[in-house]
Amino acid sequence: MRTSPDPRRAAGIRRSGSNHPASRRGLLALVLTTVAWLLARTAGAQAAEVDSRVTLFHEPAKGSSMTVYTPSTDLTVRPWDFLAVTGGWEADIVSGASERVKTGPLSRAGPDAITGASVNDVRHIGRGSVTVRRDATQLRAGGSVSVENDYKSNAVHASARTDLFQHSSQLEIAYARNWDTVCDLAHAPNTDATLRQPLDNSTGCFQPNSATRSEAPIRTDALQLTWSQAWTPVLTTQVVYTGQLQAGLLSDPYRAVSLSPSGQYAQEHHPENRARQAIALRGAYYVRPLKGAVRAGVRGYRDTWHIMSGTFELEGEKYIFPWLRLRVTGRYYRQTAALFWSDDYTGGEPQYGPRGQYWSGDREVSPFSSYLAGARAVGTWAAGERRIVGIFEGLQAGLGFDVLFYGYSDFTLGGRKPSDTTAYIGSLSFTALF
């Protein structure tokens, strides 16, 4: 649920160097998977589904390229028609480099002030859920545990869904809560924010007797309401409202921001509370002559940091062969800046933007737009009278590729436009039904 400003932090991307034992990593996933497998065997499973996939994110850039692998595996068993149990594991494997101190165009310091720091980390997530379905109602509950060198997350979620009017209308309410903990430098009590220094590495994080590290909580609550409506045999729409409350250390403890012309810098300092709202409307229409569907979506977003954004998506998907379908995607995103954003905090009041008691070096809270274009092919094979290769009831394989372009209108690194404004996303998936 939690989001981060860039893929550098997608896996809690911090510098490597800590020696946390990995014995518990993925333990939950293993337990859940084992339980799901045993349940399937003992109950005489009607069906079991294994889904494995990997997503590769690559951002080429001079001196600050970033690569993130995200493999995952989920096992779902349905011992009875009304029950589905899912257990899974996912990881983010990150390598690359990132800027440590954010400076703006007024900085007297040259490019050397933009210190590149290598980032290498692995985040493991174990997750599971139980789904109960009866007639027109579905209940789902689940949770996840995420561990990495400098960040821990525990999350639970629950949802209820019901169909109305001969299944033409569908209403769903979902809730999720996160209890997260982030590692930070052990600042002396009552240290002014302008004097706080950034965390330099994750060594010592979450060790009980560490004198140089502290832990900061982050709490997140999210509520989502969804209404889906089938209007005709070829037209369906959906409206989704999402609200989220965040509280805790919402800035990056590793990032520093230059605050004065003399070169003084301090740890990034964001507000500790944030309320976020989004409403999305999407629809799908089947075009019979094309033997495919057109999907469109729009989303509006606003939060208490005064960030507003709009997202527009258009997709087309059609069958090339009865077993192969192709999807093409286009997406445009644009957002305004947070109220406290400035590209340079050293120039007085205000030369480059609004000022306040907060400062940020995070491009996520700067004004920008992005474009995405992509395609994905999915092949599906269903067993007839005999199983595929004598084993599978069904198989599905997918291959996708997206390219992202970012345009930052008010974000520089020492006055220079960032070079990491293009990213490539590749995905490969394989699903087997037993």
């Binding site: 649920m1 400003p5 809690g12 960040y151 982050i218 989502q224 409506q229 045999p233 919402l250 999305a280």
Partner: protein
């Protein structure tokens, strides 16, 4: 500059007077809920019979496509954007502070 920065109020602080004006807000919320209820009842007139659902059940008509693929892509996108929501509230935290 630092002093000036400290003097400014937090952007998360709100004037107390806004809390006193909860009644109109409650009325507006009630109106929205009533409108939604009326619309929902009206949509009861719009039904698609089960035998007409073949296309609606086709994978190409799923509004969010493959849920797992959509979740992973959303994970990548939200890691670079200041916004959130409109798809799923599930998540395991991303160590992305």
């Amino acid at each position: 500059m630092m002093e000036a920065r400290r003097r400014q109020p937090s952007i998360t602080q709100r004037p107390a007077g806004r809390f006193a004006s909860w009644l109109p807000v409650a009325q507006r919320c009630a109106a929205v809920v009533a409108l939604a209820a009326c619309l929902l009842l009206a949509f009861g007139c719009v039904t698609v019979r089960p035998e007409q659902r073949a296309i609606l059940a086709d994978p190409v008509m799923q509004l969010q496509g493959d849920p797992r693929e959509a979740a992973q892509r959303q994970h990548v996108l939200e890691n670079r954007e200041g916004s959130f929501g409109g798809s799923s509230v599930q998540g395991g935290g991303c160590g992305c502070n």
